[in-house]
Amino acid sequence: GALEPAISGEIMQLHHQKHHQTYITNYNKALEQLHEAIQKGDSSTVVKLQSAIKFNGGGHVNHSIFWKNLAPIREGGGEPPKASLGWAIDTHFGSLESLIQKMNAEGAALQGSGWVWLGVNKELKKLVIETTPNQDPLVTKGPHLVPLLGIDVWEHAYYLQYKNVRPDYLKNIWKVINWKYASEVYEKECA
């Protein structure tokens, strides 16, 4: 409830207790089955389980990042980034507003379910905006990409509050984005 009115308490509860929990449960199940299959030397099962692991494991990884990406306004949510990340954003995108605009455009245009990310390529030390479908983690778009910020654009993330108006959800979520976490990750990767 602390992220209201940008995201309703009901959504947060469902999202965390039900959706994220389901990903974890199914991920653990898939891992158990994988373990068995490896022990038995059952290669075809091992390969078959990959998509379930990618989906549920990805769901767990992505949502764990997501919770760190959000903070109530009274704890600094929405406060724009400073220091090296702020500087990098201005250099690369011109301004924070233009970054937000770009991310929102990508997020709104995403077909079906997925995520929109602000990431950093730790080899090139460059900021990137990417989208991934379903629960694919950012690293599937490039092995050197480290996620700084991810926004869940699955319908479950906003439906109860925003119905099908995804752009409104995207506009409002910036008010509770936790830039402090993003800055920490950035500095760690680019120090």
Binding site: T22, Q111, W154, N164
Partner: protein, 272 residues
């Protein structure tokens, strides 16, 4: 098409079933723009003006029942948003896109879906509009008040032939629905080449007609379809659909029509 005003009685349900036969939802509505440009020409118009631009566009079809007829299995609120907002937006998007394109003028809905699928590289604007309009039109028809139960006659025979038993089919359908990753649809489809019924799951907006197969039934597994009524309980949504919503009447009609295109068996010729 109408059909939204009457409370379904037993006879009414049969009537509704007949309505599906009569509905040719591939008919594009011609624009009213003709009268517009007529007015323009009547007024002072510069000689070199373009001739009247005729634009084909689509209307939002109403489901063949009232929005609260599917309670308590699918709430009126869910239908108001799913049909009234989502489906309406898809139709509006489609019309906007059609307004900008000359090439797609005069296409039927089926042709639009296939053309914009572009052999596997769907043009996003179109596919998000044309295919979703098609899919949702079909979805409303795949459900009915007092649905569920089992099919009869020929369709049941075909299901038993292709799946072993109705129970097997139901299990496969439910499993496909629950194992879909992300957004998509589940279909009962008659495959043209293989001449049999199969259960198919597709991602996002993909529709089996792009592979030239014939849909018999579909189920919307996008989260928006069940979230308001079932939150994240997909399993309950799917089993409720199978138990109370699925329209085997509509399926039988689609099947009957499909058999005009696919020869499912030896004709029963009298032996001289």
């Amino acid at each position: 098409m109408g059909g939204g005003a009457r409370k379904p009685t037993e006879k009414g349900k049969k009537e509704m079933a007949c309505q599906l036969l009569l509905t040719d939802f591939t008919l594009p509505l011609k624009s009213l723009k003709l009268s517009h440009s007529g007015l323009r020409l009547k007024g002072r118009s510069i000689g070199l003006q373009k001739a009247s631009t005729t634009v084909a566009y689509y209307g939002l079809k109403t489901p063949p029942y009232n929005l609260d007829d599917l309670e308590p299995y699918m709430s009126k609120r869910a239908l108001e948003v799913h049909w009234g907002v989502h489906h309406r937006d898809f139709v509006d998007n489609l019309n906007k896109q059609l307004g900008k394109s000359d090439i797609l003028y005069g296409y039927t809905m089926d042709e639009l879906v296939k053309a914009t699928y572009n052999n596997g590289n769907p043009l996003p604007e179109f596919n998000n509009a044309a295919a979703e309009v098609w899919n949702h039109d079909f979805f409303w028809e795949s459900m009915q008040p007092g649905g569920g139960d089992m099919p009869n006659l020929g369709l049941l025979e075909q299901i038993e032939k292709d799946f072993g038993s109705f129970t097997n089919f139901r299990e496969m359908f439910v499993e496909a629905a629950l194992s879909l990753f992300g957004s998509g649809w589940v279909w009962l489809v008659l495959k043209r080449q293989e001449k049999r019924l199969v259960v198919v799951k597709t991602s996002n907006s993909i529709n089996p007609i792009v592979w030239d197969d014939i849909p018999i039934l579909n189920l919307d597994m996008w989260e928006h379809s069940y979230y308001l009524d079932y939150k994240n309980d997909k399993a309950r949504y799917v089993s409720t659909f199978m138990n109370h919503l699925v329209s085997w009447n509509a399926a039988m009609i689609h099947m009957a029509r499909a058999e005009a295109f696919v020869n499912l068996g030896e004709p029963k010729m009298p032996i001289a």
